[in-house]
Symmetry: C3
Subunit: 265 residues, 3 copies
């Protein structure tokens, strides 16, 4: 990789202040996924103008796409592409389509709307691992990037033994998942203390760059950067992009001020 | 009513996924009132482009209209009308005008600014029921839709016996109120558990479609939809429109996933 | 001062409702500083169109300016100036520049970007008082307005005796600081009860108009207005501008409804 692939700070202000460099987009690690929970078009333009260099994917979220107009979704995705940000649909709509036996139509509609990926999760629905892996495989064949979610929200998903989580991860990767999404609940979210064990068990068995960690508060961001490095992939809220980038760069007050760096130049 | 009055989902994405239909605007039940606590014009455009089909009224809120420019309010209301959303002023300004003996000027200014209604409340001021009913009558005669608020915030308004609440509701309806607003505090808000009794007492005596329930968190939304149906009228925050519509449609994760429906086709 | 300098409500709605007058911009007291923690350009336009009359300074915040593009910052500041709002950079970037020995370049870049001021703080870095005063002096000579922060976040800054705080204030004023910023933490923020003593000690020794108080919740706003008057200078969040102005005018429900006034006409 040439020097050109690092930093991305050439047009930024106060250039004489040194901060750690980062890979630039398109990148395979250091990915920031931002949840779109109802961004309007002006708001999305604002966000991407301000921080587009720090956003890799927009996750069009909750079940909302079902009640948005096709036009809105196409406009939304077009704005993303203009800023070299890719867009995928969160797993909720995938699950609805699965439950109603409309999964082929679902992948086609995602493609028609211009999306670059979809998430495959099992948050509301029950599905055995073979079935889930088949779904990932089916999706990957359409050319969509597949985000395979591991763990199950609100159902004590993290009490299953690491050996099983591991098997699930492997099955989704083998089926062609682009990245594995590690849901935050019970690990870094809604827990008194960060539940470190499953995170280190994942890191022990796999390459950390294959994962995207849901991290919805600053404690989670800081833990992940501290332990998995400044280029850990994270799935965050749309109002956290600047804070998270400041953490990655070690210039976030009460985050990791001056303690994070990188040997890239 | 013809079939044309249902659903409103023709232009929406993932049309092959079935979700419960709803009445479409203009509608008399299933109304969503959205509080405007300082929306800018771009922000309002964003919201109405995204979710205008799910918003019936904008409530221009707290006492803010007094310190906004007339131009801003007129622009704001014009944007609403473009999206078939109506606008009314929250009761705070009404109360100030009442205290300063300027209620006729108040109704006139509301009309001049283009508003479709005003709220009449007794949150800060004391007023007997006859006086409040007269105020509603006066307002209704101007052609403005009157939202009559029942209950009194922070003053244990819900400790008064149901017979009196009932009398208040009846008096405001008789005086020509368009809808009765049931304030959330002490009922669905700032309570450890939903205070169900007054809600069921109201539902027992009156037609639920005559009421708008203030509901500012997801617990309140879910309770109201569970108990009063997916077309219960609610007064919500501007960042809750999508979440509430997903709840009404039974596709809100951790809300009422798949459990709400309707026999409309 | 002529009457023209008061009120600023001529173009506002519901003009027949009397509320306390205020000085108008540009003003030396009654200043509202608004923190920009990642406002997009549309969002900033929205805010200033809505409430520009109530905003004196935009504080471009946390360490974010380092990772924003120069173009964004220049556009951002241009919008402020269009609305007669001035802009300054928060102390975090100042501290980074100081630590890296680049303070002259820092002041120059701030001027080049169009800023009207910078904050000088000691939140992350250690610096003795002589050094801090020299920094203020250096900055003031460039023509930038200097906001000198007193107190140190998260380090029990408020346990130092009032005599020392007092010396710090005096040194920064003597060095040419435009205003002294009193950080909120430990005084009005993150405390069970407002820590009144240091606030009254400051008010006893100095003219309150030389200070800007960080006030990030309604309890703080109300305390400051109650005790230091409706024209106390405050540093608030961008979504609090309307609420704070309503408090200053005595028309904020659950704030200071009808209890704040002024003899200005």
């Amino acid at each position: 990789m040439t020097e050109k692939n690092w930093s991305g700070l050439e047009d930024k202000a106060f250039g004489f202040i040194k901060i750690p460099p980062r890979t630039i987009k398109p990148r395979d690690r250091g990915i920031t996924v931002v949840a779109d929970k109802g961004l309007g078009l002006n708001q999305l333009e604002d966000l991407l103008n301000l921080a587009g260099d720090y956003i890799d994917w927009l996750k069009i979220g909750i079940s909302a796409p079902r009640i948005y107009s096709r036009q809105h979704l196409m406009d939304n995705i077009k704005i993303c592409h203009k800023h070299n940000v890719r867009a995928f649909f969160a797993g909720d709509v995938t699950e609805m389509a699965y439950m109603q036996g409309a999964i082929d139509k679902y992948f086609q509609e995602a493609l028609d709307l211009g999306a670059d990926g979809v998430e495959i999760s099992t948050a509301q629905v029950y599905m055995d691992l073979t079935e889930k892996a088949l779904l990932v495989e089916k999706g990957a064949k359409t050319g969509l990037k597949i985000f395979g979610e591991v763990g199950k929200k609100g159902l004590g998903g993290w009490s299953v033994p690491p050996s099983y989580i591991n098997k699930e991860i492997q099955a989704l990767k083998d089926a062609g998942a682009y990245k594995i999404v590690i849901q935050g609940e019970g690990v870094v979210e809604d827990v008194e203390e960060i539940n470190e064990k499953p995170l280190f068990e994942i890191a022990a068995k796999h390459d950390i760059k294959d994962f995207i960690f849901q991290a919805k508060d600053n404690r989670a961001h800081v833990w992940l950067i501290k332990n998995f490095g400044l280029e850990v992939n994270m799935d965050i809220e749309s109002n956290q992009v600047i804070i998270v980038e400041l953490c990655r760069r070690g210039i976030r007050k009460r985050g990791l001020f001056g303690l994070v760096s990188s040997i890239k130049e």
